[in-house]
């Protein structure tokens, strides 16, 4: 289609060379142009990129494992062990490092290492034989006020809060995107089927959506988590995705119901396109914009739900530096204000960010709101 069109303009250009056809901007180019003009939404988008950078470089920002080191003539990247324990070379376990890489120089005088910016561990307290030379041990109990070694203070067991929060960024990001990815997929497929086929399919699917919407969300989520017995953070994301698709499905149904009557669908059908092709190649791109808005708000909602569940003690089990888990630790001892203040502010800013992006998207893609502001 596209090449044919271009061919025709070329022919047109040959006959009328004076008017070079300006490439028409597509819907998304147009929306992006308008989105870029919105300062708040762009700041929010920038913040998401910033969070992604923190998540990606978390082991280099705070950790106890060298980012790069040379040990016995070999180059290693032990910090990758924070992403996956198998990516940490077994040679260090064999040489009895016992997780403490400060011994590097003692084991091999010719070694060198590039260390993370902040020498603190998100999973354990830095004790006497573990700590960076010259740095005091991590305080425990009520003594862990924020100080120059523990920027955001320590928990009652002496684990550094800053390191936990930096490593928890990954969870906050992943929870939003993965769970809403799942929810979006389920919602769009179910809603599309209902709206496109109509009739008894629509009847059954709509009842099903209503059913899931009416089950108290907490009962559904907690029951599913309990059935999994040992939920990891990935299970949590799956559960949040499998329970959060209803509003997207309803919207998708409405969009497909509206668009299936349009002329381009009739045209595609006349050309012999299959149902699946019409649904996902022709209708879906035209209904994506209104669906993206609830998905963005859903990301904020998923982050909120995950931190709330961790806060209530239903999150992934302990070696899990989720912000909600930190809040839960702060709740049991309110004198440790830093356990509440830092993760609480982080959750707040993250939710605010996605809400701002969602609102920006809504205003640049919804033709009814276009031009009403700014």
């Amino acid at each position: 289609m596209c090449t044919k069109w271009r061919l025709m303009t070329q022919i047109g250009n040959q006959t009328k060379p004076a008017a070079p056809a300006a490439k028409p901007r597509g819907f998304w180019d147009e929306a992006w142009l308008r989105f870029r003009r919105r300062k708040l939404a762009m700041t929010a988008l920038g913040f998401v990129v910033f969070m992604a950078a923190i998540a990606l470089f978390a082991p280099a920002i705070a950790g106890t494992k060298p980012v790069v080191c040379k040990y016995k003539g070999q180059i290693y990247f032990p910090a990758l062990g924070y992403f996956n324990t198998h990516w940490e070379n077994p040679v260090f376990a064999k040489d009895k490092f016992r997780r403490s890489y400060v011994k590097l120089k003692a084991k091999d005088p010719n070694s060198w290492a590039v260390w993370p910016l902040v020498y603190q561990d998100p999973y354990r307290r830095l004790g006497k034989d573990d700590v960076w030379p010259g740095q005091p041990e991590n305080p425990t109990g009520d003594q862990g006020h924020p100080n120059r070694y523990n920027l955001f203070g320590t928990t009652q067991t002496g684990v550094d809060v800053f390191a936990q929060m930096v490593h928890g960024t990954t969870i906050a990001l992943l929870v939003g995107f993965v769970s809403m990815g799942i929810a979006g997929l389920i919602g769009i497929v179910i809603g599309a089927a209902a709206g496109y086929f109509g009739g008894w399919v629509d009847m059954i699917v709509s009842r099903f959506i209503e059913l899931v919407m009416c089950i108290p969300a907490l009962v559904l989520i907690l029951a599913l988590i309990a059935i999994l017995e040992k939920p990891t953070i990935w299970h949590m994301m799956a559960v949040l995705g499998c329970t959060g698709w209803t509003s997207i499905a309803r919207l998708a149904r409405g969009e497909f119901l509206k668009l299936r009557e349009s002329e381009f669908v009739t045209a595609a059908r006349a050309l012999g396109a299959t149902h699946a092709r019409i649904m996902f190649r022709h209708v879906l791109p035209n209904s994506l914009a209104p669906l993206l808005v609830p998905i963005t708000f859903g990301i904020a909602g998923a982050i909120l739900t995950e931190s709330a569940l961790s806060f209530l003690g239903f999150g992934a089990p302990p070696p899990n530096p989720s912000w909600g888990t930190l809040l839960n630790a702060g709740r049991t001892n309110l004198n440790l204000w830093w356990l509440v203040f830092f993760p609480g502010t982080a959750i707040f800013i993250t939710v605010l960010t996605y809400n701002l992006i969602g609102e920006g998207l809504q205003e640049v893609t919804d033709p009814r709101l276009r031009g009403s502001k700014h």
Binding site: R207, L211, C214, A308, T345, N355
Partner: protein, 326 residues
């Protein structure tokens, strides 16, 4: 209309049956039973021996497969019996009756406050659009809207309770509640309720006042507003009498949708403030695997959700004569 109502109610009953069936299956398949969770975890000496568990299982009907147990539950429900709580040794209906008061106290107060505050705030914001005071008000409300209630609750607890010592930390009454005079009792409960109500109200307030504002902005562009201005009606009267009235239509339907929330209570807030309400009951009953209580609460919330949706639709046709169901 009657036909429409009958069809909706019939559909609602079918949905209810399905919901209770699904939830029953889910909770019965959660690992642990009300007999094993709780007792043995805390104290090994209190662990019930296997024969006793078998005997208790039989008496509670836990030995049957869950579809059969569901039918039994439905049967007694049809006779008006919601069953007895396992962990609290009380009829579920009495438990709910006990807990519903405190929850309504929070949610109704918060709803009234929300409506009372959001209308003038929304009105003010739409009149002063793009002035600095509107900007700061709207920004503030937007921030509040994004602030999770459990974070706000913890911040309030730290500042007002731990640092300033003005309010009690949690619970609904103080220890010496029974000795207080009537006025003292009211004051005591008021002090305890202040933080939970504030936390329940602020987010809704932000949402509602934005809602009022955006609706007002739409209404103000209508022809009849221009007509009213043209015939010399003053600006205050135009806003309050002509514009605000028409923004009430969507607000009325919102009432229907908030209905289940009024009774279900805010689970996390009730948990943080140890408020003896419905949300906390639900949370505890899930943790204790207290099947009859979970089912009773689920049934109640589902009925309220369905009734709220129906109410919203019916109210919509009442306040907006253009909408009819026939």
């Amino acid at each position: 209309m009657l036909h429409y109502l009958a069809r909706r109610i019939l559909l609602g009953v079918v949905t209810l049956l399905l919901i209770t069936f699904v939830v029953f299956g889910l909770v019965r398949n959660m690992p642990g039973t009300p007999l094993t969770v709780g007792l043995g975890d805390m104290d090994p000496s209190r662990k019930v021996n296997p024969e006793d568990i078998e005997r208790m299982k039989k008496s509670y009907g836990l030995d049957k497969p869950w579809p059969e147990a569901y039918l039994t539950w439905m049967g007694s429900l049809a006779r008006g019996d919601m069953g007895r709580s396992f962990s609290r040794k009380q009829p579920v209906s009495r438990l709910i009756a006990e807990r519903i008061g405190p929850t309504l106290m929070l949610s109704v107060t918060s709803l009234l406050l929300t409506y009372l505050l959001s209308l003038p705030m929304g009105l003010y914001a739409s009149v002063r659009t793009n002035h600095w005071d509107e900007r700061s008000l709207s920004t503030g409300l937007y921030m509040l809207y994004s602030l999770p209630s459990f974070v706000a609750a913890l911040f309030l607890q730290i500042v007002l309770v731990v640092h300033l010592g003005w309010l009690p930390l949690f619970g609904m009454t103080s220890d010496n509640y029974a000795e207080l005079s009537t006025l003292g009792k009211i004051w005591d409960v008021f002090q305890h309720a202040l933080m939970p109500i504030a936390c329940e109200t602020y987010a809704a307030l932000a949402y509602y006042s934005r809602f009022v504002k955006s609706n007002l902005e739409e209404v103000v562009r209508q022809d009849y507003i221009r007509t009213a201005r043209a015939k010399g009606v003053g600006p205050t009267r135009v806003m309050v009498h002509h514009a605000l009235r028409n923004t009430l239509i969507p607000l009325v339907t919102l009432i229907g949708l908030t209905l289940p929330g009024l009774f279900s209570g805010a689970v996390i807030l009730e948990q943080i403030f140890s408020w003896p309400g419905m949300g906390r009951l639900l949370f505890e009953s899930i943790r204790e695997r207290d099947y009859p209580t979970i089912m009773g609460l689920t049934l109640m919330f589902s009925i309220l959700t369905l009734a709220g949706q129906l109410l919203a639709d019916v109210l919509y046709s009442v306040v907006d004569p253009r909408v009819t169901y026939s």
